[in-house]
Symmetry: C2
Subunit: 293 residues, 2 copies
């Protein structure tokens, strides 16, 4: 069994980006600049955004964190987005979700200039992805592709089963694994809450990508020998014996499934760290695209 070490690979990617930023600076070029808008005071959201800002510092990007109050109106947020769309110094920006109830998330995501949409959530970019055109791939799916690529996991002609059809992971992953090229060319089955006989399906899979958010969902008896396991689930489970008061777990019964798997991502330290690395990668791409124009 080989551990797909997202922590290590994400650090490699950050090192590579750091090198590229150094070269940009040496040439006197503007470095990539990522902005993040956060509305309200949700603790988890603040933590996520802070770690994104920290990652920018780590690789030498400029970053701007824009905090708006919980009472922000949709118009006020749209105005802020328009400002970032038009600011030539900002190469890419994200809006941390979830948003307060008074704001229509879909309208907000549609307002982002697709050329600065480094989260890849705009339908224009999502459609470009589904039609095999160059685009910003959403960070988590992009990170999974990168992990498979760097470990040379064979995907062509393999049967990939994706569990969960979210817009952020399951749906894009099901599209990407079935595209031409590598990693891709898989036969892909997308399963979800209406799927019957899930065990019958997972037990045929060469590769399983689980993005369900249900701890210990995928058990050893549901998979075949030598399966490749990508565990995207991140659930906080209350644990009073731990210092933080909780621990993080994935969708997979790691202890038992790892004994049958050929490759498997740990949680934490698998897909999670890749997500921020690929957000940085998208921001670098956004900067480079601007330089080509």
């Amino acid at each position: 069994m080989i551990l797909l070490d997202g922590k290590k690979v994400s650090n490699d990617i950050k090192d590579e980006i750091t090198e590229q930023v150094k070269k940009m600076k040496a040439k006197g070029e503007k470095v990539p600049h990522l902005a993040a808008i956060i509305v309200g005071n949700d603790g988890a959201s603040l933590t996520y955004v802070a770690s994104k800002v920290k990652a920018c510092e780590r690789v030498g990007f400029d970053s701007t964190m824009i905090r708006m109050p919980n009472t922000t109106s949709e118009i006020e947020l749209l105005d802020k987005i328009e400002e970032l769309n038009e600011n030539p110094d900002i190469d890419g920006f994200i809006i941390q979700l979830p948003l307060p109830k008074q704001i229509n998330t879909q309208q907000v995501l549609l307002a982002v200039n697709p050329d600065k949409d480094v989260d890849g959530f705009h339908p224009m970019n999502f459609g470009r992805m589904a039609l095999d055109m160059s685009t910003f791939i959403p960070a988590t799916p992009f990170g999974i592709l990168e992990l498979l690529d760097r470990y040379g996991v064979d995907t062509q002609g393999k049967h990939t089963v994706v569990i969960g059809r979210s817009h952020i992971v399951g749906r894009p992953m099901s599209i990407l694994m079935g595209r031409k090229g590598f990693p891709g060319n898989s036969t892909v089955t997308l399963t979800h809450s209406h799927t019957k006989n899930i065990t019958q399906i997972t037990s045929q899979a060469d590769i399983i990508i689980s993005a369900l958010g249900v701890p210990n969902f995928l058990k050893a008896e549901m998979v075949k020998d030598d399966v490749v396991i990508i565990d995207v689930g991140i659930t906080r489970v209350t644990d009073e014996s731990s210092e933080k008061g909780y621990y993080i777990t994935g969708d997979v019964d790691f202890e038992n499934v790892s004994k049958k798997a050929s490759y498997i991502t740990p949680v934490p330290g698998g897909v999670g760290p890749m997500t921020i690395a690929m957000l940085l990668k998208n921001t670098l791409l956004a900067r480079e695209r601007q330089m080509i124009q």
Copy 2:
């Protein structure tokens, strides 16, 4: 076995659209107007466009067929598209494919105003579809959904296998069948040229949508009893004994598969006629959206 009679259903849809157009006229409103650009003299393309124009006449739409020579440059075509984008009298338009070699098809499709893209080929509309937003669904997939809907074929929790990953049929169909709602909520497997053990996969399917273009590909021993068969294949097979010199056949060995199927589309007369009906439907939607604005 119940025949999914696309000829009948498409005529029903055309009748319904005709009624709506009559009401528009009675209110003194402008009727929907579809334009079609055709570049060059390809016989099949001319036939397709002519049948689209004829369908417009049948339901009372205005239509405009724009013929451009085979030597048309990309710039000339883009200029024509811009003209249609800006012409308030045109509600929707299509560019008949394939285009001559000197023209980049991707650039051309990107130039169409998404609000007039009644073929649903623009990445903006494709992305909206993949993200469960309102959009123009490409006509052939839209037609298949409509057939399943009108015959009340149960799709929820069923295992749908799509054969072929084209941008026009297979890929969008795989996305649509897995979306929330009806027809949808299927567990979907998308297969293609790299798929191994295709028989193992098709023999587990409750619903098979074949868009391969290989006559007699799907045989009785590859499917289970009571399977639902949607045959999107349209291949001309040379036949000197027939008046036309060819006959039209699908991907499915209809004679034998139909004995096991619960529902099946014939070829011709199944999915084919639905495509034009749904193009009309999209044009009507384009007209109505313009009226809302």
